[in-house]
């Protein structure tokens, strides 16, 4: 079961990275995620596992350090919050184009612009629909607890290398700042150079005479070559959609209405669901855990059995578009959201359900 600790979500990310055998963290401080680097600087893994912890001069530098580290087949991590992640978008697009595995953590705060430092989910579109330029996706995990913050570090690295793709953990300031119980996995050693070469035959980490150069690039001036790369990427995304979908359902079996929510909103909806059931309204909760790939089929099937869905997000309505695409037009699908760092209360969610879906 691993070691039990009481930790902040941000600290759990950092500790899980050390234990996963992460080779390097590159980041730049920004509230509400600064505890990731603070924790690493206190723990000093560079003295134990040899993991590099480096404060870059900016988020742009950090993401390009990630590109460099990933290009050598190393397990690399960065974390930031919304404005910082916006600065990283060019680098993320380049990594997707160069098929580089890396883990990027976004502890979302209210936007747009510098916004607030309070929790938000308004970066859903940026995370799920690309964010940077070109036809690409990241695999996006939305943890709803400190335990999942830790778990998705290892899972995130695994899928990043399996598919050679950047992976994002999309969380928010509340889960980053709050403490819960967490069971930490036993530490695994960092890969040796030999193991890195075996896992990443594509990596640019010093060429023996036995093979040709490995070139890490997202540039191909020949459009035919660039189209071939795009086809490879699209095939990869289809495989990811087939194999990597994760979601959770709570009390959906007998439900007339479904709350759909991810991350912190899903926790609030679970409370709202209990309040609604006390009032005799049969409500279930559908929680997408991967936002890309989105659990389209599962939500489509669920929609056939219920009278309506309320999508609850800490934004003005972003994931609702994916829910609508998955379900079609057969049942009412409404949205309830708070913005700019305000967190919806369970009471508000029940009221919205009663007013927009049941009475609507």
């Amino acid at each position: 079961m691993g070691e039990l600790r009481l930790m902040k979500g941000n600290e759990a990310i950092a500790e899980a990275a050390i234990r996963a055998g992460c080779d390097g963290y590159f980041g730049y401080p920004i509230t509400p995620q600064s505890e990731v680097m603070e924790y690493l600087m206190v723990e000093r893994p560079y003295e134990t596992t040899g993991m590099v912890v480096l404060q870059a001069e900016s988020e742009v530098a950090a993401i390009n350090m990630l590109y460099g580290g990933a290009g050598t087949g190393k397990m690399v991590l960065t974390s930031s919050s919304s404005p910082g992640v916006s600065l990283m978008q060019e680098g993320i697009s380049y990594m997707a184009g160069a098929e580089l595995p890396a883990l990027i953590v976004n502890i979302v705060r209210g936007g747009p612009g510098l916004g607030t430092i309070q929790p938000s989910q308004a970066d859903y579109f940026q995370a799920v629909k690309g964010g940077g330029h070109g036809d690409y996706h990241m695999i996006v995990y939305a943890p709803a607890s400190v335990q999942e913050m830790a778990d998705f570090v290892q899972i995130g690295f695994d899928v990043a290398f399996k598919y050679r793709t950047p992976v994002m953990i999309l969380s928010d300031g509340a889960i980053g700042q709050m403490m819960e119980k967490v069971y930490l996995a036993d530490p695994v050693p960092r890969l040796t150079e030999k193991e890195v070469i075996a896992r990443c035959p594509w990596a640019s980490n010093g060429r023996p005479m036995s093979r040709q150069h490995n070139i890490i690039t997202s540039l191909d001036l020949d459009p035919a070559g660039q189209e071939r790369l795009n086809l490879v990427l699209q095939e990869k995304y289809r495989k990811i959609e087939e194999s990597e979908v994760m979601f959770e359902t709570i009390d959906c079996e007998d439900a007339d209405y479904i709350l759909v929510a991810f991350g912190l909103s899903a926790r609030i909806c679970q409370k709202a669901m209990n309040l609604a059931r006390q009032k005799g309204i049969k409500v279930g909760l559908f929680r997408p855990i991967t936002l890309f790939p989105f659990p389209k089929k599962e939500i489509h099937e669920l929609a056939k059995r219920v009278k309506g869905m309320l999508v609850v997000e800490m934004n003005a309505g972003q994931m609702i578009e994916d829910v609508q695409l998955a379900v079609g037009c057969d049942i009412p699908i409404k949205h309830y959201g708070r913005f700019g760092g305000i967190i919806p209360t369970p009471d508000e969610v029940v009221k919205a359900l009663e007013e927009t879906i049941i009475g609507g």
């Binding site: 509400p32 700042q177 926790r267």
Partner: protein, 183 residues
């Protein structure tokens, strides 16, 4: 058992650490816990609060708008949280600095003059533990032995010599708490 608590006061009163010790004590007796601090603008403006939930079951929302217990240590927090106590719930406050006392009749209200007492006996640093002691007298949701374990876990080892002082403060707090309005 699920106990949903808000602890609110000024930064520096030990609000967040009181919550942390409570949460750690819950972990020590194998319960589910969550500790959700205010951070950011509120904290930078001087007030601090933390929501602590201790439960036998998986905790749903770590953020609440109604609480079983409110522990209130300044006037701003009284204004904000008196009405957030569930009917039948519990409000504990330190009257030091309070000008508008709680008025609700549908909750139990206790006062604990911990700030005055702590200053009088020279234990200002463990003022928060006196308040915690008062709370635990009314709602013994965590055992004393688990508080000790919680203190050991949450305090850095260089501060472990202060644990007996903290425990003493808890005992003092248990004697200090007074009923104001009991249901």
């Amino acid at each position: 058992m699920t106990e949903e608590i808000i602890i609110a006061g000024f930064g520096g009163q030990g609000v967040l650490s009181m919550g942390k010790i409570l949460a750690y004590s819950g972990v020590m007796q194998d319960q589910e816990v969550s500790w959700m601090p205010s951070y950011g603008p509120e904290m930078r403006g001087g007030t601090a609060n933390v929501t602590v939930i201790v439960s036998d079951e998986r905790i749903s929302s770590p953020i609440l708008n109604k609480y079983d217990t409110a522990i209130i240590l300044n006037q701003q927090s009284m204004d904000k949280f008196e009405n957030a106590v569930k009917p039948g719930g519990l409000l504990i406050y330190d009257p030091n600095g309070i000008t508008r006392h709680p008025k609700r009749k549908d909750i139990s209200i206790y006062s604990i003059a911990a700030a005055d007492e702590a200053a009088k006996i020279g234990l200002s640093k463990v003022f928060n533990m006196m308040v915690l002691g008062g709370f635990l007298k009314l709602k013994p949701i965590v055992k004393m032995e688990n508080i000790r374990k919680g203190l050991e876990k949450s305090l850095p080892s260089r501060h472990h010599k202060l644990i007996p002082e903290n425990e003493k403060a808890i005992v003092i707090g248990q004697d200090l708490i007074q009923p104001v309005h009991v249901l």
